[in-house]
């Protein structure tokens, strides 16, 4: 899973905390000045729109297989031709954005939730709890993902998006946990936390009211980068046959068509578009992530 994990930046977030609203507003203003990031937002927005309005953009059912027209060339009816089962590639591309984004987003959300909870508990309490969670993370890092997916599918007989996403989150939490933990470790020693504690704030309140908001920067930045990584992971898993099965369209399983050199060579319309969509989406998300980092991390200034 290619995810950008920036331990160091996130380790010290929080230099500005006193005023409730302004840092966010400053960040927003800074973000708006970052042209690439704004472009990223627009591109992502367009892709989301494509996903939402897919039924209005194409008359074709992305799952309908027309056996009389497999591997069809692009024409007036099928703008990007048809795949090896005779499904309309253009329709699959549009609907695929739905699935790919949903997978990317929910896998990210799941991971962030698990990672944030475990990371903040580990970072806040430290000591034994920290030790246990971090060793669990080590163990998790060693868990063979393929075995897990295969066992889950074999037992549940089903791999819908929810299951797929849960499994992905289940194996990806250690990375984000480490980041949140590191952030919390440094926050813990800060004066405002110490004072909050000294006036008897409950752990729960301190974590949620004081520490978490200050850790939002690294969480958000890493969340975007994670989402990009998850979209790529989905395509890689589909490639080796452990992804979301056909006929559900995802950009990842559309790319498995490119497994044949014939398609690679003579049917570029079958594999270039989904590949480009992945690259564009991931790029957009990464631009947003970078913009957020610049905006939320006061130390990173453009020279």
């Amino acid at each position: 899973m290619e995810t950008q994990i920036d331990t160091r930046h996130s380790a010290s977030k929080s230099l500005n905390k006193s005023k409730e609203n302004t840092p966010w507003r400053i960040a927003f203003r800074k973000f708006k000045r970052n042209r690439m990031a704004v472009l990223g937002v627009w591109v992502l927005l367009i892709i989301v729109m494509i996903g939402i309005f897919a039924p209005y953009l194409t008359p074709h059912d992305p799952e309908y297989a027309d056996l009389l027209n497999t591997n069809g060339k692009p024409d007036k009816v099928h703008w990007l031709g048809t795949d090896s089962s005779g499904r309309d590639i253009f329709a699959r591309l549009l609907y695929g954005s739905r699935i790919s984004l949903i997978i990317g987003f929910s896998a990210m959300l799941f991971t962030i939730v698990i990672g944030t909870i475990l990371g903040s508990v580990a970072g806040y309490y430290g000591g034994k709890i920290d030790n246990i969670i971090m060793r669990l993370a080590d163990i998790q890092l060693n868990f063979p993902f393929l075995l897990l997916v295969m066992t889950v599918v074999a037992i549940l007989k089903e791999i819908n998006i929810l299951i797929f996403v849960s499994v992905m989150a289940f194996v990806s939490w250690p990375g984000i946990t480490r980041i949140i933990r590191a952030t919390f470790l440094s926050l813990r020693e800060q004066e405002f936390i110490l004072s909050a504690r000294s006036i008897g704030g409950s752990d729960f309140r301190i974590i949620f009211r004081h520490m978490l908001p200050n850790a939002m920067g690294p969480i958000i930045v890493n969340a975007t980068l994670f989402m990009a990584g998850m979209i790529i992971s989905e395509s890689a898993l589909s490639f080796i046959g452990f992804g979301v099965p056909q006929p559900t369209p995802t950009w990842g399983n559309m790319l498995t068509e490119a497994l044949s050199l014939r398609v690679l060579q003579y049917e570029p319309w079958a594999w270039i578009p989904p590949g480009i969509m992945i690259v564009i989406t991931v790029l957009a998300i990464n631009f947003i992530g970078d913009g957020l980092r610049d905006a939320l991390d006061p130390r990173m200034r453009k020279s």
Binding site: L67, L68, T70, V153, I240, G241, L259, S260, L261
Partner: protein, 579 residues
């Protein structure tokens, strides 16, 4: 050349989700004349070999898509890839000819006794093992004795099960195996428990040298150096160099009994199936079997590459689960909506099987309607069977007549009692075409109002575990068959591999009849099998889907190739390449 396919009916080997249905035995009774070199290839190019005459030397590289496990011992090998490597190293007593009959190989002649229960083989004299030792009757006795041995670790004891004295020897009761008797150094007699018209198919097996393997305990054979790396056979090529999981180099055996091979070397390369056509083009590869149907057009256009396509004995089907096989061997029937034959027949009409062949296999296959593929001599002709052509209207009509009507207007029919029903379809990953066909079947059935729930495709292990334990309703699966049409093993109601748990007395009776003494008459045997096919074709415990052709691409650099139903490697010792 002895064929791997005789022994492995189906070996599903998964390689990164690409299941290669291993070792499909192929044959055809299409007019393939072995003496007409290269006739029948799809791109007919003239044959200029006569002009120059054979030249010694040269190397030919073959592609396989998955690495062999590494057991290069005919007694123990597990997968078709291993057989790829040792197929040129070992030989059996008999060789199966293009017309499926048997011809001499290590045995020069053979004779059945009056009661058809013993077979006397006269062995060829002057055959040398790769290490220079002489091949004798002891090697034959050794080979069959190991298969029957109590400590034998492989899976091929079924070869010797029909022999007299197998149970006694295998259980350790007796110290000798009575089934194979040496008369003299060049005569062996096989004693069978029962007469069977397909006896030769059942017992032909590659012979291993006693003087090499005999020095190991049977249980230690698998770890013998001659098993892992340096097998000794009688074939035209010797296994010379192994780069594990990458390439397997065979060199010419000069003293080959059938004439010194022209080629110096044969190299098997392990290559990704999707990349292989490109390497064929760049000349890094000469022979590629099991070409992907959708790659045929591409490969056909490569200059200097010929294609050989032949129907295959294997086929794919969708099975219905009718019951559960209990521990005691009895079958408890399930109460399922598809127990109704009319529903199954309507489904057969509703599935566009020709469309699957045309669309997914690009026409490189045939629709099946009965369990014996059309290429077999025993196959019923289409006019003897109901071919269930794709006809959704007819399917709807049949369903209406049988009382399956959509009462609540949700687009799906209810059963004759007015209850909703949904049938679950399970299918394995691996074979890509089969994987793609599952959603299409679902779509076709939906179009006539039958609600199919598609389970996620599972890996082959999980899938067949569920199928074998009767935990499915509808399932996709495939068989690769031997060339003999005898359906026992899969179709008798008591068979473990009777996956549908289909029980039909008439079917059992016909299967029995096909192996009776009377069935030594081939016409009679065929009649029996046609009747049996008609029964199955009507009852439809499977909906037969398709049989994929086996397609081989090879470089026209190679001369004297004689393609036949088994592929192109027959008489490989006569191959030569233009320098």
């Amino acid at each position: 050349m002895f064929k791997k396919s005789l022994y492995l009916s189906i070996v599903l080997i998964l390689v990164l989700g690409i299941a290669l249905v291993g070792c499909s035995s192929t044959t055809t009774d299409e007019p393939t004349q072995p003496d007409q070199t290269n006739e029948g290839t799809t791109n007919d190019e003239g044959n200029k070999e006569e002009a120059t005459g054979p030249v010694e030397g040269g190397t030919v590289s073959f592609a396989m898509f998955s690495a062999p496990g590494g057991i290069f011992n005919p007694l123990l090998y597990e997968d078709a890839y291993e057989w790829n490597v040792i197929g040129f190293v070992f030989e059996a007593l008999l060789e199966q000819l293009p017309d499926l009959s048997y011809g001499p190989s290590l045995a020069e002649s053979w004779e059945f006794s009056e009661d058809k229960r013993s077979i006397t083989f006269k062995l060829r004299k002057g055959v040398k093992w790769h290490d220079g030792e002489e091949f004798t009757a002891d090697d034959v006795v050794y080979t069959y004795t190991v298969l029957a041995h109590p400590d034998y670790t492989g899976t091929r004891s079924y070869i010797v099960e029909p022999f007299v004295g197998f149970e006694e020897f295998n259980s350790g009761e007796t110290d000798t195996f009575k089934g194979v008797e040496k008369i003299d150094d060049y005569t062996v007699v096989f004693h069978l428990k029962e007469a069977a018209p397909n006896a030769l198919d059942n017992i032909n097996f590659p012979i291993a040298p006693e003087h090499v393997y005999g020095k190991y305990e049977v249980k230690d054979l698998v770890n013998a150096p001659e098993t892992k790396a340096s097998p000794i056979g009688t074939g035209p090529f010797k296994l010379d160099k192994i780069v594990t999981n990458e390439s397997y180099e065979l060199v010419r055996f000069d003293d080959y009994w059938n004439g010194k091979p022209y080629l110096d070397k044969i190299i098997w390369k392990v290559i990704n199936q999707d990349v292989a056509p490109g390497l064929l083009k760049s000349g890094q590869l000469d022979v590629m079997a099991d070409l992907n149907p959708s790659d045929v057009d591409l490969v056909k256009n490569i200059e200097g590459v010929k294609i050989w396509e032949t129907p295959d004995f294997g086929y794919q089907y969708m099975g219905f689960k009718f019951g559960k096989l209990e521990e005691d061997g009895s079958i408890t029937p399930f109460d399922k909506v598809y127990n109704d034959k009319k529903l199954r027949q309507a489904m057969a009409y509703a599935i566009n099987r020709q469309g699957i062949v045309d669309g997914l296999l690009k026409g490189h296959g045939t629709v099946m309607n009965a369990p014996i593929p059309p290429v077999s001599w025993a196959a019923a002709s289409p006019d003897q069977l109901n071919t269930y052509p794709y006809d959704p209207e007819k399917a709807k009509q049949l369903l209406d007549e049988a009382g399956y009507k959509d009462i609540d207007g949700d687009g799906f029919r209810e059963d004759p009692n007015g209850n909703k029903f949904e049938i679950t379809l399970d299918y394995p990953t691996g074979n890509k075409v089969r994987e793609k066909s599952a959603p299409i079947i679902q779509q076709n059935l939906k179009e006539v109002g039958i609600n199919i729930k598609l389970n996620a495709p599972r890996d082959v292990g999980s899938h067949y575990d569920a199928v074998g334990n009767d935990e499915v309703e509808l399932f996709l699966a495939g068989w690769g068959l031997t060339t003999d049409p005898d359906p026992s093993g899969i179709w008798k109601s008591t068979d473990t591999w009777n996956f549908p748990r289909w029980v039909n007395e008439e079917s059992d009776r016909l299967i029995q009849e096909g192996l009776s003494l009377k069935a030594f008459d081939m016409d009679y045997r065929k009649d029996v099998y046609v009747k049996w096919q008609q029964l199955v074709n009507d009852e439809l415990p499977y909906i037969f889907l398709y049989s994929q052709n086996s397609i081989t691409a090879y470089s026209d650099r190679i001369q004297n190739v004689k393609p036949d139903a088994f592929g192109i490697t027959r008489d490989i010792h006569k191959w030569w390449v233009k320098q």
